[in-house]
Amino acid sequence: MSTPIVKIENLYKYFDISGGFLEKLQIRSGKISLHTTEVKAVNGVSLEVASGETLAVVGESGCGKSTLARTVMGLYPPTSGKVLYRGERIDTLSARQMLPYRQRMQMIFQDPYASLNPRKSVRSTLEEPLRFHRKKISSKEVDERLAEVMEQVGVNPAWRDRFPHEFSGGQRQRIAIARALVIDPEFIVADEPVSALDVSIQAQILNLMMDAQDERGLTYLFITHDLSVVRHVASRVAVMYLGTLCELSVTRELYETPRHPYTQALLSAIPRVDGKKQNHIKLPGEIPTPIDLPSGCVFHGRCIHADERCKRESPQLLKVSDSSGSLVACHGVAEGRL
């Protein structure tokens, strides 16, 4: 593999939710101490996104996939770890130093009703990134660029002076995609881009995103909870649970031979249209809070295969076999028990 377009190295992101100074004060065994409560959203994730691929990050709510996406985009500073863009470290850059990268990486959001400013027309929404990043651009060029991009995402350029509330959800998502595409980025983080849309619209948006990828050679980091969507769009899949990576694999491989017990449970839970009765793997217990992470493997409390080692030692993401290149973080798989 050549230099990855984006490289995430041992990324941690904690959120302090303990509030003000007074709420941090606690008395424990007769001593007054400052105690902070942290949500450990991302815990030591390392990933590489290769140029031109679609890497999907899947997981259930609270697994840290959206936090990961926003940390990569520089919306949150990481607690520790690095984010590299084409080999350059970007997580420590100032807002000004970050500007050149802002043109090359863009983001598409989940809710097309919230991601467009209701008080701005389509024109001003799309113009803003263009005029901001290309100060010298002429009005004529802006107009042409807008028409071109709107044409590409399938929104009639004649509607450019309309406001978001005049469009349906699918059309709004098209406009949001146009906003991301207008400054010609090479890397796009898509955070649940079709989750809020109806089935027939989902297909339109997925096709649109794949067409844009073909035409512009885009790279996607695709965040979603929907495993059927992943199977369709992704070249590789990373499965997350409680802020850590469980399995990273080529899409076909993952769906045919899921190795991590959590991946297996996740795949078995997808409702199938073909009516074949599925045996859903039941996970005992519930997802622990990301405030107090379990010791050892974060999944051990819900895993039927867990043994003493799983409770003590957290597993590393290891290569399973030389042929597939799949990485799995599970003692059971590493020991050959599973």
Binding site: E60, S61, S168, G169, G170, Q171, D198, V199, S200, I201, Q202, A203, Q204, L206, N207, M210, D211, D214, H225, D226, L227, S228, V229, R231, H232, V233, A265, L266, S268, A269, I270, P271, R272, V273, D274, G275, K277, Q278, H280, K282, L283, E286, I287
Partner: protein, 328 residues
């Protein structure tokens, strides 16, 4: 005779621009112990159908035509007081968001006991016993202890289980579940689906499952009706519908599913162009015709009837060309 029979139901919302027809000539039946799926995209009228059955259409909406027969009674004619004996008692409802049903400031126990005592004259002690039994039915561990807890002490999946337990309290004949798994994660969705299936089999209960998710419908229901722009456009046994959809919309919907539909060589999903019309601007003739690839002249003029197809008695389609050669 079916347990629930809805005939030619029409629901109108009186808005300032004029009347908006939310449901147009909707007819269906639900037998004892039957599991019926109601599928459609947002704005199709599937939730309104559920609310109409239990007469919960709020102003400015009203049922303007049609009949709803439940157990031989005309539900659309009942007074609000009589209706309260049916609603939450013989017909229960589950919503997408459990917090719509649960009161955040009362314990689970209080809510369950009060619900029960609103419908039956029993002591608190007996009511609590029933509540515990129902919590066991939905597989909530150590139910006695759980009765004293508040809704926020439960996870999303557990809350939905509790809502189902509350719905079960009065041993209803029908449960109407409006997107009961949409807000949940896949693994929990799978658990709730399994639970609903199990309960239908053991509790002598019918289920009307309203959802946008064809996968959920395929796993849980026996029969399904597909809605589009306030109308029923196809009714069939679930397995038949999924295997061979007849209406072009249903076809498109199934083919558009990622991971299921057929893709062309470039791995593109088959898509239905356009989007569901606003109920104020429904096209004349067949409401689907602007998006339909088989659209002919007649489709723009004449409204297709929901008709049975030759040789398929359980199946109804509202399309001029369903089953004919043009559609192949």
């Amino acid at each position: 005779m079916s347990l629930l029979e809805v005939n030619n139901l029409e629901v109108i919302f009186a808005l300032r621009h004029g009347d908006l027809v939310a449901l147009n000539d909707v007819s269906f039946t639900l037998d004892k112990r039957e599991r019926l799926g109601v599928v459609g995209e947002s704005g199709a009228g599937k939730s309104v159908t559920g609310f109409a059955v239990i007469n919960l259409i709020s102003k400015p909406g009203r049922i303007s035509k049609g009949t709803i027969l439940f157990d031989g009674k005309r539900l659309d004619r009942l007074s609000e007081r009589e209706m309260r004996h049916i609603r939450g008692n013989r017909i229960a409802m589950i919503f997408q968001d459990p917090m719509m049903t649960l009161n955040p400031v009362l314990t689970i126990g209080t809510q369950m006991v009060e619900t029960l005592r609103a419908h039956r004259k029993i002591s608190k002690k007996d009511a609590a016993k029933i509540a515990i039994a129902k919590l066991e039915l939905v597989h909530i561990p150590s139910p006695e202890r759980r009765l004293a807890q508040y809704p926020h002490e439960f996870s999303g999946g557990m809350r939905q289980r509790i809502v189902i337990a509350i719905a079960l309290l009065t041993d209803p004949a029908i449960i109407i579940a409006d997107e009961p798994t949409t807000a949940l994660d896949v693994t929990i969705q799978a658990e709730i689906m399994d639970l609903l299936l199990e309960l239908c089999n053991t509790q002598d209960m019918g289920l009307m499952l309203i959802t946008h998710d064809l996968g959920v419908v395929a796993e849980v229901t026996e029969r399904v009706m597909v809605m589009y722009a306030g109308k029923v456009i196809e009714v069939a046994k679930t397995s038949d519908l999924v295997a061979s959809p007849m209406h072009p919309y249903t076809k498109g919907l199934i083919n558009a599913l990622p991971g299921h539909g057929e893709c062309d060589e470039e791995n593109r999903l088959q898509q239905i162009p356009g989007s569901m019309p606003n109920l104020t601007e429904i096209a004349p003739g067949c409401s689907f015709h602007p998006r339909c690839e088989f659209c002919q002249d007649i489709c723009t003029r004449e409204v297709p009837e929901l008709r049975s197809l030759a040789g398929m008695d359980e199946r109804k389609v509202s399309c001029h060309f369903a089953g004919t050669e043009q559609m192949q």
